[in-house]
Point group: C2
Chain length 314, copies 2
């Protein structure tokens, strides 16, 4: 079964790691959100690409949810001594990634090519694709601060401002990265990972052609493809990140059902956690109820296997 | 005595450190070559500014002639693992400088302001001025490789190609950095440091206004200012760097006399090493013969004191 996964940061990376434990590399492609990408210290930073890449390479920092495990902070300490901005703490190995990516992007290479090579250098064997080589920037509309870039909302303001909405600046004219539409076309199963719908998956869907392609694949009886989403909300909460808080602030009860409603027109199947089993009667598409908490690499693999089995049954 | 020094890399930095050991900070300004500046890994690197700055701060690496003492190389090791270019080895503390400089330059601050603040953060009390805030790039014309940027000649090709000439790209339209002409005007003594005339001092003199100002100060009986150069060539050789090799390749016998001829129209006084004492009869301007080798901080201070005393006697 050829699988294409749409993923954002930590939650998405974990499920993708589960899929990568099962599927041969050539059968798994991950389309990653780049709406969180930003410049810092003059460097081009792609947080979700790095989180997915580091997680697949077994190098991710499991505590912070970003950066590398056992990284050092020599450069950051130096920048702090120089009076520079130290609020976004980048480790030395992480900086190596950003420096190399920045160098190559500035020399004119597309992000997709740079991502492929960096992932391969780190030992990642599945295919990683940025959603687009064109800049798309997630902007968060907040009550207190007006519209601010996602990283500012996320890191500097720790998700504290009340959210009123989102905008994906640049999405109108962005093109899917080379290969994106093709792997969606060729996949037997498209997995929408348990990532934040508002700021991890929606930016991907905002790239012209991607949502349309998903809708076509779903509705088209021709293709017999499956689109399955896994709820990132368990018992009304998220494991990590502000998705539940965002739903609440936007006036929507945070629950797996809110996720289902979010994607409804796109899905062939939906996966929720056992603790949300009572919601089953409200779900009118094929539903898998299983353990969706991924505390260990074994959990990741198990959830991935459950999703693949579920897809086989639909 | 108010002193303005023109300096390039290592030799210049040492004498400047000697001057800084004697003069009160407000009486010493150093105008630094930026012709070697280049971009690497997407970062703005100013090797001579950093060498002078690190030397004055007591942080320079005395062995390599560039970078910081006791620096670590965590990021560089990471870049190498990613298959990136590792031929130019930047330490982590050095990278912190480049990152912070790059960030501030890209946000629109002029190099002179960034340099002032970085130097001050590192504890440098004398005034450091880049020769210009506009890019001037030293290009080396070589027999084997045609015209190549200085850093490529210097680092990648280890000064091996035979030199045919130099060009200071951008010099025509560069303006002296704010304060440069003023400190030259206000100084009682201008010191041309024992730096490479071709690639450290000439780029400074190529910035429109700087050579003219020196010539005016020298010729103008009005000002009674002194311009003293210290020969970087001792017994036909340089302590570090390719100046002697360059003279030879350009068909000029490398010696202190070649340095004198290089600057002749500008100088009020000239300083050569004791081992070159036999050249004295050929020098027709006030001459100081002293120890110009600077192996220790005490040597630096002694040479600086000798130069200041010499200036007092002219």
């Amino acid at each position: 079964m050829r699988v294409t996964a749409l993923a954002g940061g930590v939650g998405g990376a974990k499920l993708v790691d589960g899929l990568a434990q099962i599927l041969p590399p050539q059968d798994l492609t991950i389309i990653v959100n780049t709406g969180d990408d930003f410049q810092h210290l003059g460097l081009e930073i792609s947080p979700d690409i790095d989180t997915v890449c580091y997680t697949l390479a077994g190098l991710a920092n499991p505590l912070s949810g970003w950066g590398r495990e056992n990284d050092t902070f020599m450069v950051m300490a130096g920048i702090q001594r120089l009076g520079g901005p130290a609020w976004f703490r980048l480790g030395d190995q992480d900086l190596a990634t950003h420096l190399e990516r920045t160098r190559r992007l500035r020399s004119g290479e597309p992000l997709s090519q740079v991502t492929r090579d960096l992932a391969s250098s780190l030992g990642v064997r599945s295919r990683l694709l940025p959603m687009s080589n064109d800049p798309v920037r997630t902007m968060v509309r907040t009550e207190e601060l007006g519209e601010i870039p996602f990283q500012e909302y996320f890191v500097l303001h720790r998700c504290e401002p009340r959210v009123q909405g989102f905008r994906f600046a640049g999405a109108d004219t962005a093109r899917p990265a080379p290969g994106v539409l093709k792997v969606m076309e060729e996949a037997d199963l498209i997995v929408i990972c348990p990532s934040n719908p508002w700021v991890s998956i929606d930016p991907i869907l905002a790239v012209p052609g991607i949502r349309a392609s998903l809708e076509y694949l779903y509705s088209g009886k021709l293709h017999k493809k499956l689109v399955i989403a896994i709820s990132p909300i368990i018992a009304g909460k998220t494991i990590k990140g502000p998705a539940a808080k965002m739903y609440a602030e936007l006036g929507i009860q945070p629950s797996a059902l809110a996720i289902l409603a979010h994607y409804s027109s796109l899905l062939t199947g939906f996966v929720i956690d056992r603790v949300d089993g009572k919601l089953a009667p409200e779900v009118r598409i094929p539903l898998l109820i299983t353990n969706t908490l991924m505390n260990s690499r074994i959990d990741r693999r198990q959830l991935a296997q459950d999703v693949l089995d579920f897809a086989g049954r639909i």
